[in-house]
Symmetry: C2
DNA sequence: TATTTATTTCAATACAAATTAAACAATCTA
DNA sequence: TAGATTGTTTAATTTGTATTGAAATAAATA
């Protein structure tokens, strides 16, 4: 088996893994195309520039540029400089744990923020009716206030979870894996 | 202020909260419309049937039916029976914690499954090239194998997290909130 | 079984998102 | 500064998904 053939088979194997990675990233709110950009960068040993990536994913320059911006914003991709080169180069953040925590913490906070904003708008009305209202109206207002209180206690929990992840405290409870003992390396 | 006016203001306040809830649910992978269905059910004291819901959200019967099915599948909504009534009635699962854990655990497992499937396809090729290949091909294969190993250890962690959530063990580390001490109830 | 009522399926439409080509802006080089 | 190279923004197209009305199906009663 020639090395040329090996490289060919290797590329096919990578394509499978990149596709899986791209699909997965849909979960993280990006399109499969953007996921493919990340996948290509993930498996590249070298930093890649816009042209390289464009060639690898077969997309337009504009799409690649937009996709990269998105990936940079969420810190899943990092921009690097090569001295003496005008082009921008990019590498993937390969630490899935970091990516996951980044994403997840942001999501939890956004969720809380949305609900709290809604509740804050409603709260004065509900409290007033609960205090001065009567009959069905008061009953419903009290019910809504109870709902809000329950949800606030839920969000206190998710915020503690988010903080524990961000600070790394979570790993005190749920430690990351130690190295494999039977690992066949090299 | 008449009770009629109070009920009017109450409905407006609820609309705000329902909109926020609907927006939030987009994070959980449903459309805003489906989110609105959940929101309406969340704030309803009574179980609602398809017709009730349709009226409240101003959508077609078909959309409501599809939306409900989606919400039932993810267990965010529960079907209940009223005896002597042919219609189906629905209530929202109001426990955000339960909804969150349901969703999150499913997502983590799906993510792992996707990647593992991709890796399993690639693994034989990579291992063969790593053992018998030469030069650049072998170097790249080894690199990919190292990537796979790192990712597997990440997934071991997320699976432990998922299990801890599902079993409730997570609450040993990160307890849910106790009741408020200064709570003004009734 | 016929008849009413509730729910789902399906084909057509409307809507939203992704992708692109082309124009534009910025940066370097000579 | 002109000319060339790289990167971004815009507006238009394409593609895909959500939503709907109408028809079919299923369920319940009499």
């Amino acid at each position: 088996m020639s090395e040329q053939e090996d490289l060919q088979r290797l590329e096919e194997a990578r394509d499978v893994m990149i596709s899986a990675l791209a699909q997965t990233m849909v979960i993280y709110g990006v399109t499969p195309s953007v996921g493919r950009i990340y996948g290509v960068l993930y498996f590249s040993e070298e930093p890649m520039n816009l042209g390289d990536i464009q060639e690898a994913v077969a997309m337009s320059k504009a799409s690649v540029s937009n996709g990269l911006r998105e990936l940079l914003e969420t810190e899943m991709v990092i921009k690097v400089w090569k001295k003496g080169d005008r082009k921008d180069y990019y590498i993937a953040e390969k630490d899935f744990m970091k990516n996951f925590i980044n994403f997840f913490v942001k999501q939890l906070r956004q969720e809380r923020s949305l609900i709290v904003k809604g509740n804050q708008q409603a709260l004065p009305v509900l409290e007033e009716i609960s205090e001065h209202g009567e009959g069905e109206a008061k009953k419903q207002a009290d019910q809504d206030l109870a709902n809000i209180e329950r949800s606030m206690s839920y969000f206190e929990w998710t915020m503690r979870l988010a903080n524990a992840m961000e600070s790394g405290e979570i790993f005190d409870y749920l430690p990351p894996n130690k190295e494999k003992k039977d690992g066949k390396h090299g």
